[in-house]
Symmetry: C2
Subunit: 339 residues, 2 copies
């Protein structure tokens, strides 16, 4: 059960393994192998269903045709969908994907990088955690192509594909204000990475523009690793404790889900008693009654850009940084509309 090797083909064709390698790598012309021999080898290879051993090839060439995908949480619908797009796109180029979840934990992320590195992946798509810049820089200077996603390090040059978090949050908040909501809160994460900072800034600036004073008491930050029950408690406490609060912006999809759950257990009427907008779309937001207004990310586009940039870098590395900021789409639904 050893699998067919280039040697088997060589033997059958009565030529050397090198010749077989040349032919099967499309270098027949370049290496002046006769058409006769070339065809014979092709035929035998087809008959034996020869598949090159990627390990041997990788060992020799230093290329594994594998990319590492590091996300925050593969079980989260945003990242799961992204993973699928990445898988499909990479497949078009003959690449496979090795993935891992960081749980937003820098140590876990470092561990993943370590493992992917000694598995010799050719390139990386990374949702970085807080202090991962050192490790990423190291990989970069080792010549490994890396594209960041969802967030990046403002002080560190790198390729990235992100969305316009500031504008997304601004539009969402401005929309709430335009609907007549007065006391608008935000539930976000404790993370001070750029994507969350931008969302908070967008929220704050939109309030200002609407003539509403920014009130620190209306900003609730929750740590990523707080469990569902804990978050729900915190959110409920926040909602109940903020007298006069009439709308809230949830800054991530899982916070929005927990927010809905919390509001529900308080028996408040979404849309009437409290306006709700969430970052990220999700089946739940579309289906909930009332449906939840959200800022939808173009996941398909993000995934395609990621893989395209990575492939470009893999094939001809350039000095130019690819930094893509994609627009978001505010999906208006009843949860944010007074009736």
């Amino acid at each position: 059960m050893k699998g067919i090797s280039i040697k088997d083909i060589a033997k059958q064709a009565g030529v050397s393994p090198t010749t077989v390698s040349f032919v099967l790598n499309g270098k027949a012309k370049e290496k002046r192998i006769s058409d006769q021999v070339s065809k014979k080898i092709q035929k035998i290879a087809g008959k034996l269903k020869y598949k090159p051993n990627q390990l041997a090839r990788g060992l020799r060439t230093g290329k594994t045709k594998t990319i590492g995908l590091i996300v925050e949480d593969i079980a989260n619908s945003f990242f799961a969908t992204l993973a699928k797009v990445v898988e499909d796109e990479a497949d078009k180029f003959g690449y496979k994907v090795l993935y891992g979840s960081t749980e937003d934990n820098t140590e876990k992320a470092k561990g993943l990088l370590e493992v992917l590195k000694y598995r010799q992946v050719d390139g990386y798509i990374i949702t970085p955690t807080k202090n991962l810049d050192k490790e990423i820089e190291q990989l970069q200077s080792a010549g490994k192509p890396i594209v960041l996603v969802d967030r990046y390090f403002p002080q560190m040059p790198s390729h990235y594909v992100v969305v316009d978090n500031y504008k997304g949050a601004y539009d969402a908040t401005a929309h709430l204000a335009a609907q007549g909501y007065q006391k608008i809160g935000i539930v976000t994460t404790t993370s001070d990475q750029v994507q969350m900072k931008d969302r908070l800034d967008g929220y704050a600036d939109a309030l200002k523009a609407a003539g509403i004073a920014y009130n620190k008491a209306l900003v609730k930050k929750l740590p990523f690793d707080l469990d569902k029950e804990g978050s729900n408690e915190e959110i409920k406490k926040f909602l109940k404790g903020s007298k006069g609060l009439d709308a809230v912006f949830f800054a991530t999809n899982y916070l929005g889900i927990r927010g809905i759950e919390s509001i529900r257990s308080l028996e408040w009427q979404i849309g009437k008693q409290i306006g709700v907008v969430c970052f990220d779309d999700h089946d739940i937001f579309r289906l909930y009654t009332p449906a939840i207004t959200c800022v939808a990310q173009p996941i398909q586009e993000i995934g395609q850009q990621l893989v395209n940039i990575l492939m470009k870098e893999l094939n001809h590395p350039s000095a130019a940084l690819q930094q893509v900021v994609l627009p978001l789409n505010l999906m208006l639904r009843p949860s944010s509309q007074h009736t």
Copy 2:
């Protein structure tokens, strides 16, 4: 930027690469390497942060410490969550995961198997598609450990981890009947694989046991690859067309989600006008108003069993087939209760 190899260590320690290999593979005692040399090598390896090249090792040993995970759709929450559990569990054994989605398409599945095979994965966890048994048997007889999940081929011996689909569907349907629903429909897939067959049988037998006649007109089957809009249309047509229908059992999570959407657009009251139960749990079912009764799968347990069985087979293959059928949990919620 070549990376540290065993040779570098050997040079620094003034010994041969072989000795280094012995020591780093824990064979120092067995191969009678002196403690002195052993420690020196360990120290140098630590200092240089040596990581063995998995390609070279794999080429030599035939083991890649990688498993292939083939699911129906990684973007589906059930499979995404399962993938995460598998990843975590495999990691405990030092294994990485290569994954792929079949979209329930046999050709795509064959392609995935092909790719994983020539990437030399050590073992497979597979959600098989309809006609994949030949390919799987071939892999098995090539000595590759395989564990099936979610479904299996009754006529083909194999390891598998599934849930008690029959009982789950039976309990769900019996519950509807016990709540006084009389005309109970089912929306399922056109698949005739065992997991769907069992669900349909459970549904039918529960009806019989409740003294309700099985009515073929109340069974709606939809193909997997029908898109969201198409499914919604079909479901609406089915619901409206079945006069007197007072409850419906959705046989998969995505059908349930589409079902809710359809019922919503018909403006029927779930629970009152129509009882609803769904196979699989999902955030949506918990959060929807009214919350949706469902048959929850023990995803954590499934993933752990899968990896444990696979690891056992990888380390000491046995003749005994591991076939695990896990119990399901009926989560009672308002969607199935007359008030």
